[in-house]
């Protein structure tokens, strides 16, 4: 563990302002994951306090500890100077903590007032007879006070996403929340709605309430907050005054390394001919809205091109689009000059595009099937593995034994189900299968997420070896360390677009970090 966990001296913004919520040494473990590691945090009354960090930095876990949804394994929590221990979310509500989740918890066919009433433990909420009138009045009054006008009698499904979010905030205010936590509130909003939200948040702070604003978008944090606490890898690394920090300094804190602390690639690579071309690719996301906008990339044989970005900026969709898993709305993909038929994984496989997906367990393998079955997932049709309509099970099993030996997979045997393998061993099985198809191109997403150090080394070694053998590799990762060590060039993705491309040998990390957080559009 690094000794730098000591936060910088906490600046007092408003002398005299009381601490609304504070925690010391909060630790929360999940099986195999340390989500929060001795986190220290405090927010004052009347401030907007941003909680900044990359995906997986532990922001949501920490807020769930604050609301009583999770119980910390270690550490102390105090609200308004009194130590508290929450057993259930109700305790959190009673203590005056309200949470607005990224995904709303609203009953669509109910009216605004009815939703506000749900779970209300105050007198009118508890009585047997409903009092919609009184609640509607109070909701309207609160809405007016904070500039969040919503018709209390409107039904949720009739409202826009921005209005629904207002209902969530009103629900918290109605329950007398003094501390309001918003988890990535702008993710679902249009820029105009976001601006209106910021006005509301400032108004609530001016009223003496505390707003904890969770985000990984730097300019928003800069725009709305008084102070920022940065989380990284589950630890609180610093609390700084927003006014005295810059987008660059925040990006550096969030990404975590000062300039030049990255291990740069040492070996010299032989870059071959242009193999993989992605030209003007646009593809829709799962909800139908374009998730990848006009992305162009090119990868030469023996080259590793990294794609950096905070999760959810279209990287998964890009990986799916270029491997045929997701139909293209426009653009072309070429391997060795030949156009690959879009939206057809089999065409991509035939063209020599290997794919190691982000979701190893449910896309990369069929989890309940054996290792033998999984190593031939893409080659079971070949003459080697089948005779007529019948599969050559003995041959396939021998092949699995051979790959297990060659890739040093720790497994009970070739008949063990893929589900039984650890993350690292599962990734080895996927890599073994993909490399055994002698690919020209490898698209690999989050290759080491959730793996331990040893497994990470192995996966990296395999990637280097593949590059040395002339494979064109597109490496999509949220781990800057990994991108810096492996890539020749790094393209940065933000909101579905490539916002910049840098040479990994000379790039400044702060610059990449800034682009990742949307701080610079090029």
């Amino acid at each position: 563990m690094e000794p730098t966990a000591e936060p910088q001296a906490v600046p007092q913004v408003r002398s005299g302002a009381r601490r609304a919520i504070a925690c010391r040494g909060i630790t929360k473990r999940f099986p195999g994951v340390l989500a929060n590691d001795a986190v220290d945090f405090e927010a004052l009354e009347g401030e907007v306090h941003a909680l900044l960090g990359e995906n997986g930095a532990g922001k949501s876990t920490l807020s769930n500890v604050f609301t009583g949804l999770y119980r910390a394994d270690e550490g102390e929590l105090e609200v308004s100077g009194t130590p508290v221990a929450f057993d259930t979310p109700r305790d959190g509500i009673t203590a005056g903590i309200g949470m607005v989740h990224q995904h709303f918890r609203l009953v669509e066919p109910f009216t605004v007032a009815e939703n506000v009433m749900l779970g209300d433990q105050s007198d009118i909420g508890r009585s047997f007879r409903l009092h919609p009138g009184a609640i509607e009045e109070r909701v309207a009054e609160l809405g007016e006070r904070y500039g969040m006008a919503v018709d209390p009698r409107a039904r949720i499904w009739q409202l826009s996403v921005g209005e629904q979010q207002r209902v969530e905030i009103l629900k918290a205010l109605y329950r007398e929340a003094r501390i309001l936590i918003l988890d990535e509130p702008t993710a679902v909003l249009t820029p105009q709605e976001a601006t209106a939200l910021f006005v509301t948040l400032r108004a609530m702070a001016a009223d003496g309430r505390t707003v904890i604003f969770i985000s990984h978008k730097l300019h928003e944090v800069k725009a709305v907050s008084d102070r920022v606490t940065v989380l990284r890898d589950g630890r609180s690394v610093a609390t700084v005054d927003t006014a005295s920090s810059t987008l660059e300094s925040l990006a550096a804190l969030m990404v975590g390394r000062e300039l030049n602390t990255y291990t740069r690639r040492e070996e010299k690579r032989e870059i071959g001919e242009l193999v993989f071309e992605v030209e003007g690719v646009t593809a829709a996301g799962d909800r139908g809205v374009a998730a990848v906008h006009d992305v162009s990339l090119s990868v030469h044989g023996g080259e590793i091109v990294g794609v950096a970005g905070v999760a959810g900026n279209g990287q998964r969709e890009l990986a799916e689009a270029v491997t045929g898993m997701r139909p293209l709305e426009s653009g072309t993909i070429r391997v060795g000059g030949a156009v690959v038929h879009s939206g057809d994984p089999r065409a991509a496989i035939k063209a020599g595009i290997a794919h190691v997906p982000e979701d190893r367990l449910h896309t990369g393998v069929a989890p309940s099937l054996s290792i033998s079955s999984n190593v031939v997932l893409k080659s079971y049709r070949s003459d080697e593995n089948s005779i007529g309509p019948f599969l050559r099970f003995h041959h396939i099993r021998d092949w699995a034994v051979e790959l297990i030996r060659r890739y040093d997979v720790k497994a009970p045997g070739p008949d063990a189900s893929a589900r039984q393998l650890s993350g690292g061993n599962l990734q080895k099985v996927v890599l073994a299968r993909e490399f055994s198809g002698s690919p020209k191109v490898l698209v690999i997403a989050a290759p080491t997420r959730g793996l331990d150090v040893g497994a990470i080394e192995t996966v990296h070694a395999h990637l280097r070896e593949a590059a040395a053998n002339g494979v064109a590799i597109l490496l999509i990762s949220e781990d800057l360390d990994e991108l810096m060590t492996l890539s020749d060039r790094i393209a940065v993705m933000y909101e579905g677009r490539i916002v910049g491309e840098v040479d990994a040998a000379t790039a400044a990390v702060a610059e990449i970090g800034l682009m990742m957080a949307g701080g610079r559009e090029s």
Partner: protein, 375 residues
């Protein structure tokens, strides 16, 4: 103290044998209570049941007759359910098998028996497959829920059957004989269209033998071939199947057609083995709900084709025993209770194969079980 139900990470092999047997024992214990309460001797009743199902003269024949359609509808459900394709339409596909096979027999009147019987089987399978392809296409291309569509088409198929015999002068309807003028019936099929029995005793319906062959072929297809491999991958993870370049839509169509063809063969067997006409009588072919019972058969057999044959045989025996037991002092309601108990415990016992029940002392103390449950 609390009870938790957790998913088993590994399913031990012995469980899949021990649980059904245990379930049956529990069922017989529960039934004994009911029998005692209604003044019957449980042991004597069980002995009577066994005799009526298997050992009494003619009992085995009757059991096999009851089992034959269930073999086909059970295979129909098992074939589709294996790929998480919930074809509830075995009933309607069976009717279509009857329509197709009787048409073939009528068209080929005068031809040799072998040709007629082969054509009946082929036509029955084709008609059942065609009917099943309707929900298949809707599912593959429009992502329609096949449970709803295949179920609804059962009623449509039933009405088509009624229309062909009662409401029209269709090719299938007998318009010549005197009795048919009073009550509409289907044309009698030529004698050569009666499926052979080979003079065995007990009589084994030709359809039952065909069912055993179909089960063997289905097992081979699903466990030895590329097709079966693709079905396994698709049922485990549709995303992984797509990722591997499998033609998932085509597979949905193929499996629905296969499933429908099996039920259609059941319809052909009903026609050729027993009915010898297109039977639209509401108290005839349509009265027994073979398609729906087939789903229960498939579930009890855990979608294993050979187990489907076995379960169909046992269920045929149970139904046969039930109707033999009925009498002045043994009401049919009591028979229904017994059959219900057996189905309830055997289906309920399935839970114990996939999940384990764990009793816990204090609520929050142990960390390990919670960790296991989140997986």
């Amino acid at each position: 103290m609390s009870i938790r139900i957790e998913r088993r990470l590994a399913q031990p092999r012995w469980l899949s044998v021990a649980v059904p047997i245990g379930s049956l024992l529990v069922a017989f214990l529960l039934i004994a209570v009911v029998l005692l309460a209604t003044g019957h001797d449980p042991l004597a009743t069980y002995r009577d049941m066994f005799e009526a199902a298997f050992t009494a003269p003619g009992a085995m024949t009757q059991t096999l007759v009851g089992a034959t359609p269930l073999v086909f509808t059970g295979l129909c459900a098992a074939a589709a359910f294996r790929m998480n394709l919930f074809n509830i339409g075995g009933e309607g596909q069976l009717y279509f098998g009857a329509i197709g096979s009787s048409a073939a027999a009528l068209l080929l009147a005068g031809q040799p028996a072998t040709l007629i019987i082969a054509a009946m089987m082929a036509a029955g399978m084709a008609a059942g497959a065609a009917w099943a392809l309707i929900p298949g296409f809707l599912r593959a291309y429009l992502s329609t829920n096949e449970i709803i569509t295949s179920l609804m088409l059962n009623y449509v198929a039933g009405l088509i059957l009624t229309y062909l015999i009662f409401d029209s002068h269709s090719y299938w309807r007998d318009t010549t004989s005197a009795s048919a003028a009073v009550f509409p019936v289907g044309k009698p099929l030529p004698d050569a269209a009666s499926w052979p029995t080979f003079g065995m005793n007990p009589i084994v319906p030709f359809g039952f033998l065909a069912g055993i062959v179909a089960a063997t072929l289905l097992w081979t297809l699903y466990s030895k071939t590329r097709f079966g491999f693709e079905v396994r991958v698709m049922s485990d993870s549709p995303r992984a199947a797509r990722y591997s370049g499998m033609r998932t839509r085509r597979k949905i169509l193929a499996v629905m057609a296969l499933s429908g063809a099996l039920a259609g063969l059941g319809g052909a067997s009903q026609t050729g083995d027993f009915l010898h006409t297109l039977d639209a009588d509401p108290k005839g072919l349509r009265a027994y709900g073979y398609g729906y019972t087939g789903i229960v058969v498939a579930a009890l057999a855990r979608y294993n084709p050979f187990a489907v044959v076995l379960v169909a045989f046992l269920l045929g025996g149970l139904q046969n025993a039930g109707s033999a037991l009925q009498g002045p002092d043994f009401p049919s309601g009591l028979v229904g209770v017994m059959e219900g108990m057996i189905l309830f415990t055997t289906l309920g016992g399935e839970l114990l194969i996939r999940y384990k029940v764990r009793l816990q002392g204090k609520r929050r103390e142990p960390v390990a079980p919670a960790a296991e449950a989140t997986r």
